[in-house]
């Protein structure tokens, strides 16, 4: 981008409109998904864990004897699949958002502190990060989850531990750049202490890039949760996550293909949408990085 070709100062960027439209195109479905997940119990008035053996393995669209229609079918013990998928959506959303917030907050604090401080603290933290990256993250998650046992809280802990590194590295890089800026020197000169400088002058610059990373990570975390639950290391049957429903459906592929198929489709759709939204957000916030 040369000076001659850049638009007049303050003029709208030609690409900005496109980036904004793309942001909306993927952001709106994402909001709809979140709203449906939250409002699930109101939309589908069945208990997702109620067993009704008489209605087992009903294909999608079946009109059940006692009135309601099972739009997405029922599973091997007669639980309504629509209700289960909505319940699974809530679990995915809770695990995804909590994990991203927890690992993002920790990564921000650790990364900014390491970048500002430097020295042995920085060296130890970054070696630890390198070490953790030497582990395939899903493998580390399997190891931790196996030790902690199954529960929604443990999945969140496990995935937070495996995900903080990305946030910390970016926060550290940002902090290294920002701490050389003049306003940091000015703040030092008027007597601000390190904590104040980090919190008020450096951290705010590290947040925007982390928000973009967080969106991309959200999709990865939702996938990782589903994988752990599929392996029997995630949520318990009392909280049927998508991974768990897919795993249960494996034994009924011949008699009830929809049990594994439909939750996987929904999961894939959500991950694609989150990923595209993350890309759109990055392009919107940083128009120079638009991919060709």
């Amino acid at each position: 981008m040369t000076a001659a070709r850049s638009p007049a100062f303050g003029a709208p960027r030609p690409a900005a409109g496109r980036a904004r439209r793309r942001l909306l195109r993927w952001g709106v479905p994402l909001l709809v998904f979140a709203a449906v997940a939250v409002a699930g119990p109101v939309l589908v008035p069945y208990d997702p864990v109620t067993v009704r053996l008489a209605d087992r393995l009903a294909p999608p669209g079946t009109l059940l004897p006692d009135g309601p229609r099972a739009w997405l079918g029922t599973d091997q013990v007669g639980k309504d699949l629509t209700a289960q998928i909505l319940q699974g959506a809530r679990i995915s959303l809770v695990v995804g958002l909590t994990t991203v917030l927890a690992s993002g907050a920790f990564g921000l604090a650790a990364g900014v502190a390491a970048g500002y401080r430097g020295g042995p603290f920085d060296a130890v933290l970054m070696r630890l990060a390198d070490l953790q990256l030497a582990f395939p993250s899903i493998l580390l998650a399997i190891l931790i989850a196996a030790v902690l046992g199954r529960s929604v809280a443990n999945v969140i802990i496990t995935l937070s531990v495996t995900r903080w590194v990305t946030f910390a590295r970016i926060a550290r890089a940002q902090s290294l750049v920002v701490k050389e800026r003049e306003f940091v020197g000015a703040a030092l000169a008027i007597g601000a202490d390190a904590l104040r400088i980090v919190r008020r002058h450096i951290a705010p610059f590290a947040v925007p890039p982390l928000v973009v990373v967080a969106t991309v990570e959200l999709g990865l975390v939702i996938l990782a949760e589903a994988s752990l639950s599929f392996l029997g290391l995630g949520t318990t049957p009392a909280h049927p996550s998508w991974g768990l429903i897919i795993a249960d459906g494996r034994d009924y592929l011949t008699t009830g293909w929809w049990i594994s198929t439909i939750p996987g489709l929904v999961l894939s759709l959500v991950v694609v949408t989150v990923g595209q939204f993350g890309d759109a957000l990055r392009d919107y916030l940083d128009p120079r990085a638009v991919a060709g």
């Binding site: 390198d130 070490l131 953790q132 030497a134 582990f135 395939p136 993250s137 899903i138 493998l139 580390l140 399997i142 190891l143 931790i144 196996a146 030790v147 902690l148 999709g219 996938l223 589903a226 994988s227 599929f230 392996l231 029997g232 290391l233 991974g243 897919i246 795993a247 459906g249 494996r250 592929l253 011949t254 293909w257 594994s260 198929t261 996987g264 999961l267 894939s268 991950v271 694609v272 990923g275 991919a291 060709g292």
Partner: protein
């Protein structure tokens, strides 16, 4: 070059030591008593004490760690708690199956990813390019365990073309290898496409055309060699994910490899086997990254290590 290699080797050993330590800490950080957890509710207090002694958990932590590291050097991680053999042997027997699966997936990914990426770059914004983009996006978003189940549903249950489980001839390998490879095919395709587009405007590409080379020759001899470095890096990095993905794919297809053993061992609370399986996969990952670093020097004569 040799001092560079020495440095990489020392670093690889450091990472290996770190992984050993992470596994050591992870297994012991558990709230409560690991011996109690392994035995479960059915065991008596006596059983728990006996197991704790057998695993050395009744010693101070420092002594446990020293013994653990000393054992690791001799590749001795103790006896499996469920199988009647040492943990190392149990995992070792399963490693060839995992290597076969991951290796096939890797070959498949490179064999498909390179041509698809080139095709997409040559026919930019064509139907081919669009299809390849969508497919590679899906390859990166669709969970591999679900994809495997869908393959079983379509090709094993409905069409009855291929077996759905176990190990045997090539027909047993097709579905799991394809499932495992798909993510990497997507990554490689995008990488090759964007890499080619990046070098397309370089002077040396123009010069090659100017001296009368065909497009095929320009791409094969001038463009591709310059795209290979990031490709090799990513293949190396992705191999770790491939090995980890094998854990899941082996579970889906009942493939008798180290990954499935790991999942079974977790279910059985067979911690010695869990340790060895995790360490084997990590060691494989470290080794591959070391090889990737070394291969740069051969791929790019401009890189000289001092």
């Amino acid at each position: 070059m040799s001092s560079y290699l020495g440095g990489r080797l020392v670093y690889a050993l450091f990472v290996l030591w770190g992984s050993l330590t992470i596994v050591f800490v992870a297994v012991r950080i558990v709230p409560g008593d690991p011996a109690q957890m392994m035995i479960g509710a059915s065991g008596t207090q006596q059983d728990v004490e006996a197991l704790r002694h057998r695993l050395g958990l009744d010693r101070p932590l420092g002594a446990q760690y020293a013994r653990y590291l000393a054992g690791a050097v001799r590749l001795d991680f103790g006896q499996s708690l469920r199988l009647e053999e040492p943990a190392v042997q149990a995992v070792g027997e399963r490693l060839p199956a995992t290597a076969l699966l991951s290796g096939s997936a890797m070959v498949l990914a490179v064999a498909a990813g390179l041509p698809l990426g080139i095709a997409a770059a040559i026919r930019l914004r064509s139907a081919v390019d669009y299809l390849v983009s969508v497919a590679s996006l899906l390859g990166q978003s669709v969970p591999n365990f679900w994809l495997g189940i869908m393959f079983i549903l379509v090709f094993a249950r409905w069409l009855r073309w291929l077996p759905s489980a176990g190990i045997g001839g090539v027909q047993h390998l097709v579905l799991p290898a394809l499932t495992l490879a798909l993510l990497l095919i997507g990554v490689l395709t995008r990488l090759v496409r964007s890499g080619l587009l990046e070098v397309a405007g370089e002077d040396y590409v123009r010069s090659a055309y100017a001296k009368g080379l065909t497009r095929r020759a320009v791409i094969a001899r001038h463009a591709i060699p310059n795209v290979l470095i990031p490709v090799v890096t990513v293949v190396g990095l992705q191999l770790g994910n491939l090995l980890a993905g094998a854990v899941i794919v082996e579970t889906v297809f009942a493939w008798p490899g180290a990954g499935r053993l790991l999942v079974d061992a977790i279910g059985n609370r067979d911690y010695p086997v869990v340790q060895v399986a995790v360490l084997c996969i990590t060691a494989g990952f470290i080794l591959i990254n070391l090889l990737v670093d070394v291969s740069y020097a051969y791929l790019d004569p401009r890189i000289r290590y001092r």
